[in-house]
Each structure stands twice: as C-alpha cells, then as structure tokens.
Symmetry: C2
Amino acid sequence: MISKKTKYAINALVYLAKKPLQQPILISEISEHEHIPQKFLEAILLDLKKDGILASKKGKGGGYFLLKSPNEVNMADVMRLFDGPIALLSCVTYKYYQKCEECTDEASCGIRSVFLEVRNQTVELLKKATLTEIINRGE
Amino acid sequence: MISKKTKYAINALVYLAKKPLQQPILISEISEHEHIPQKFLEAILLDLKKDGILASKKGKGGGYFLLKSPNEVNMADVMRLFDGPIALLSCVTYKYYQKCEECTDEASCGIRSVFLEVRNQTVELLKKATLTEIINRGE
DNA sequence: CTAAACCCTATAAAGTCAATAGACTTTATA
DNA sequence: TATAAAGTCTATTGACTTTATAGGGTTTAG
C-alpha cells in the first residue's frame, strides 16, 4: 500500500493541475480542500519542489503551482519520490538494487523472474498515469 | 517491497516443493539451507500451516511438508497472508476495503481508476505464479 | 514596516518489522 | 515408560518508519 504521504501528494498535485498555470495556490487552501494536515502538507510540497515538479512563490500572494506540465508528471515518479522503489523485491529494482543474500545465479532465479515481470508491468502502467490522464479519467 | 517474512515464506515453500510429497522436513534444515533465522521461520511455517498450505508432523521424525499441491500455491495468496493487501490503495482492495475519506464518487475517481488497473494486473500475474511455475522458470 | 506566506529543524507518539527467549506439548523409539 | 527430538505457544525487545506537531526563521507585497 502506498503511504499517506504519497496519497496526499497525489491529491495535492491533481488539485493543482486543475488550476490555471503559474497561479500560486496557498498551502492552506490545498490543506482544507483535500483534508491534509497543513504542516504535513508543507513538507510534502517542499519535497515536490525540490524534485522540480512544483515551484513556489514566497511572501504575500505566494503559494505553490505546477512547474512541470501535467502530462509530464506521472505516478511512478511521485511514488518513487516518497515511498522508494516500486518493485516488490530489491533484486528487481534499478535505483535501489540489492542482491539477494544467497542467490547464486540471478538469471535462473524463478522468484526473481516473476517479480521482475510484476515490476515491469506496474511501472509501465504508472508511467502512463499522468496528472492529465487522471483528470481525464475522472469525468 | 515485500517483507522479509514473505520472502522467507516463499523461499521455504519453494524448498519444500522440491522435496518428495509428504516427507517431513526439519525446520532446522530449511533454516540452514535458506539462511532464515530458525525462530523466525518457526512462526512463518506455523502461519502457513494455519492457512492450510503446509502440514506438520510433531515429535521425532517430524517436520513440515506441503499439504496443497505446488500448482495450487500462488504468490498472491502467500503475499496476502503475510503482508496483507496487494493493492496500493485501500479503496481498490476486496478484503481490506476502506473508502477514501473525502471521495464523493468512487466510480468517477481518476486516481482509483489507475490503481485499480495496477492491482488487477498485478493480482493476475501473481495468481499465475505458483510454486510449480517458479520452479520451472528456475531452469 | 508589517502581515502574509513559504521554509527549516527538532521532536514525539504510535505502529510495524525482524528477531529472540524460554517454556510447553507431542511423539517415535530404545 | 523414560527420553530425546521436534513442533507449538506466549511474551518481549530493539530498531526503524510513519504520521504527524511545535516553534520559530526567512522572504516579499503593498
């Protein structure tokens, strides 16, 4: 299951994607509308900013807005940012790869083979799931 | 990522599936061969027994062995037993269903739609991944 | 100048994960 | 029938992660 953090992030992103481009939206507005604890949301939005998905404007009249285009922001990236690897086994991840302790030959590991397939299918679907796609489906 | 518990369970099951039917295998043998802490393994095997996948024989000459046929034991069931739901959102699970707090209409939720697809694909693959299948792939 | 708004650090409560300890029960067999 | 082998049960522990909360610090519009 994805963490609340990831779920909150997705909700916030979808909310922002529905707003006019570049228009700063208050943290408090997202917090209230999406029922996310404000302080928790602050940290989430900051992470999304550090990752280049959002931008912010400080001071009065400030807020957050999408930096990337909604069709460039996909669920695979968001999930990886907050929850780490999508794969179910560390021997089938790319970024977080770790060899199984007693695996003598990965290429012939039946378990790995299964979970590699699962990972690939999942990543493929989640890459296609952009904010644009999500908003379109919700109609 | 799946828990160590689940990974240990899969390793133990594959190990047992390669042995002659009904032949009791010592916990200590599985523990050593698969490098699983013995006490931890005990609990895992007990859970698999309660679930009807394994059976055990007590006393001298005892041990664990597969009760179900290797082609009836699939990864979806094993993962659910130890890690709970396979779905990434609780609103797309069957057994562990929970409504999203502020979701007014599930049918038109784009997020849910995406994660439902992911779940269905994953479950389909994991159901096909039986012990027999895993052993066959490992050759 | 000042209030609005984002930014940063620290901390805490609760839960989960991985493992260990130690005693209890069952059973084959000498 | 004693005994050792082997599974069963309950409790506990330490480390880590999750989900927040508190309390300021910094920036900026007007």
